[in-house]
Subunit: 496 residues, 2 copies
């Protein structure tokens, strides 16, 4: 077995373990160890769990073992949530128990800025070097929908596996984006919060998920890298075959200082990072919502270059914003052919509508079948590569008064609108994305929120990605397009 195969086998045992020790539970049920144990049970981990605490006892009907050594047989993976000074010995015990890896949730290592913390982290690193891969310390751990592993605290993450791997120095960002997996339309092959990164960190994880056949898209939150040259080389290799979406935190001088106290990494300047990411053809984003939106676009859209976008929806100003956003990605809103404009205008309410592109449908209550026909007509223009359907569903709330106030969901044809988008994709042959903004967020508009959520689910279940606002939609499409444009130029434009 070569090194790569062995590394893959090790990662498989980490991401899909059968026997897991949870070291540092309390019988009271409070604390990180007990929290992660409850979360594993909630999410339905179906291997064997071995809680450990020197005092023994039981928790959730499981015997608490008094030591790692007291666990019968070998283990695959360990979750360690002990005070920092107890971690190295526990880790060594796990190694002797044959664990392929361990995640160390505890803080109090290098990030504390103390000599004791640094020394403890050195001990962890030394034990890892003897044959157990370590995730952390100072992290939220591993989320593996397939394996049933979850983050701290993550009792309600989705068990449906997807094809997006997220790798992060920040536990907060990891839990946030993992939560988004329950509703946003992105699904994870894994999400790994590696915190201080004493052992496994950005470069090796990138290499593994770059080869992982279950991962198509990789996202990374990076504060600093351990070995710039090596990371650069891997990133460039991986980006040739899979998009890697990078959110680099701490690019300002002040941000760099904050990085140092957060994960004790060296940041690096904005100029260097921008240039490095561009050369590698990594996709750069500046927030976790932008990361999720871009991952959604790569998940649900064909990977290709998009040059022309048509916008269908209410409001001319939206078209202006879309055109501004598109321009930054070398995309445009082509003026539709005159005969198509005429055919579209014949379908729309007048006056107030316009069909030049953006196609302003003039009011928010245009029926779904008309919208479908408008999308199909616009798709016939060969300069249109992708379409954006903007639905201002919150305006239905204002219309309730006209209909003696029935529940909002009864008057908004959510399923029909989602069907219209799907039919337009199927018959028109061009992808459609939906934009569902909501500006009604008062306590008296919970019905609008509920409506937005069913609408999102309706579109997603038909394979139509949904964005909160037009700018995010256009930027996410632009990220796919720009990534593929570079691959075309470099001659590796085959999508999976």
């Amino acid at each position: 077995m070569n090194t790569t195969d062995r590394a893959a086998e090790t990662m498989e045992r980490i991401l899909n373990p059968r026997r897991v020790a949870v070291v540092g539970v309390t019988s009271s049920g409070f604390g990180f160890g007990s929290g992660i144990l409850s979360s594993l049970i909630s999410i339905g981990f179906d291997g064997e769990l071995f809680p450990v605490n020197p005092k023994g006892g039981s928790i959730h009907g499981l015997d608490i073992r008094t030591s790692v050594e007291a666990i019968p047989g070998d283990i695959d993976f360990a979750i360690i949530a002990l005070p920092a000074h107890l971690v190295p010995d526990a880790l060594e015990s796990c190694r002797r128990k044959g664990a392929a890896g361990a995640e160390i949730l505890s803080a109090g290592f290098r990030e504390s800025g103390t000599p004791e913390g640094a020394a403890l982290e050195e001990r962890v690193r030394a034990i890892a070097a003897r044959g157990i891969r370590v995730i952390g310390p100072n992290c939220f751990g591993v989320y593996s929908p397939r394996g049933g592993l979850t983050l701290l605290p993550g009792p309600a993450l989705s068990r449906e596996a997807g094809r997006f791997a997220f790798l992060s120095q920040s536990g907060g960002h990891t839990i946030d984006i993992a939560h988004m997996g329950t509703w946003h339309g992105i699904g994870f092959s894994a999400a790994i919060s590696f915190g201080n990164g004493a052992d496994l960190r950005e470069t090796e994880l990138l290499e593994y998920f770059g080869r992982d056949p279950q991962t198509d898209i990789i996202g990374m939150y990076i504060e600093g890298v351990d070995d710039g040259r090596c990371f650069y080389s891997r990133l460039r290799d991986v980006c040739a075959g899979k998009p890697v979406i990078v959110y680099k935190g701490g690019l300002s001088e002040a941000g760099g200082k904050a990085v140092a106290s957060h994960t004790a990494s060296m940041g690096g300047s904005r100029v260097i990072w921008d240039s490095l990411l561009r050369q590698c053809n990594a996709v750069s984003v500046d927030s976790i919502p932008a990361m999720a939106d871009t991952a959604l676009a790569f998940t649900r859209l064909p990977w290709r270059r998009y040059r022309g976008i048509s916008i269908v929806g209410g409001g001319g100003a939206l078209g202006v914003a879309a055109a501004d956003a598109a321009d930054a990605y070398g995309m445009e809103l082509p003026v539709l052919a005159a005969d198509l404009q005429e055919a579209i205008m014949a379908l729309l309410p007048k006056p107030g509508s316009s069909a030049a592109n953006p196609i302003d449908v003039a009011n928010p209550y245009v029926p779904a079948n008309i919208l479908r026909d408008v999308l199909l007509l616009a798709a016939r223009d060969e300069r249109v590569d992708i379409q954006v359907l903007v639905q201002l569903l919150y305006h239905y709330k204002a219309a309730l008064g006209m209909f003696s106030n029935p529940p909002l969901e009864e008057i908004v044809p959510v399923e029909a609108l989602a069907d219209a988008a799907r039919e337009a994709v199927d018959a028109g042959g061009k992808p459609v994305v939906a934009v569902l903004p909501n500006h009604l967020r008062g306590a008296d508009s919970m019905d609008v929120e509920k409506l937005m959520r069913s609408a999102r689910a309706a579109f997603l279940s038909r394979g139509i990605p949904v964005f909160d606002d037009l700018g995010s939609a256009v930027r996410s499409i632009g990220n796919v397009s720009r990534y593929m444009a570079v691959r075309e130029r470099r001659g590796n434009a085959v999508s999976p």
Copy 2:
């Protein structure tokens, strides 16, 4: 009476009219005219309403007059929602009836790109020149909380007047931000959608609200201006005394083309606009949510320069993002004095917390009184000018399992958290803003959404502005700070 006084008197009759004609209702109750009439009744307009349609009849218990002339006595204001070709004659009738102004909701004028449309708009302009001020055409009209006027369609806008005036070429943006006035913490002196701007438009409106004693902050969505030199001069004057927040649409080449078809304006290049806005000390934003957030900061925070920010909350990565955002505005996260750090650390759970600034409180369940004490300690550092309290309330959802699943609102101390922020402001003497992100937006997390909304209301009712994410909070504080820094340099730094 001088010209300025006369203009003010005219605007007062437009914003606070007693007798209003609604020209173009249908007895069926459908269409723009009937929609705006219902909206005026819903919102509680308490002057006299005169619906007009040649067929007569009645609507909502009001007689429909067969013509403008058939209205008994004079009118102050008219709302015109007729097919475009009927508009000029109706407008002339309104002028003869003594109306100070009219809003023309109808489309089909210059924006249609036809010679007929352009000719109709010229006629409107000529009538306006004879003594009636026109808002529109192709607009959503005037929202005046004090006067009880509302937009199309705007039955549920707030009647509580505030001190923010919004002026916009886009009706969509106007209705969106006006809706935000019901929950976001911004309140309006007026919001005016002027569409094609055949008569009243950016420069005169800016001048009026610049002098208006009921307006402290002005927001503008601009696609293009009519007279650049004159606008520039007014903008510079007004910015010396009141912040003017400008969202300029159509700055890209493609966006400029979209502008032309939306409101038939000439856009102007990005370089020229950026330089113009900077020279005038206008506050530039790039979206309507950013406009609202910046208006909120100017509404709720002291107008001054902010140099140092302290961040209190869970998650080190948030501090990294905050430092990056602050840096762009010449602000920083000063490292707190050693004695304050020590005192703060004594209050926080360990390990995992840190007090250097950002103050990472290590878990999302830290009690309100501890957070208050942490804020008060950080306020004692003289380099801290303002504080940001980040509350990741959605994490309480994960904790429900530990408490046999009570309703979420029972376990989250929303009022106590808001009290803590208020007490910190009162006793510490430094403003506090709250950040309440929510990444749990699935159909099964409506309880989290409800919680977020009560939390927002609780903070706002205590004068604490709330933002959705840390980046928006820091940028909005930065906009106040940068604006006041320029005023200081120019020697007009007195806030109202």
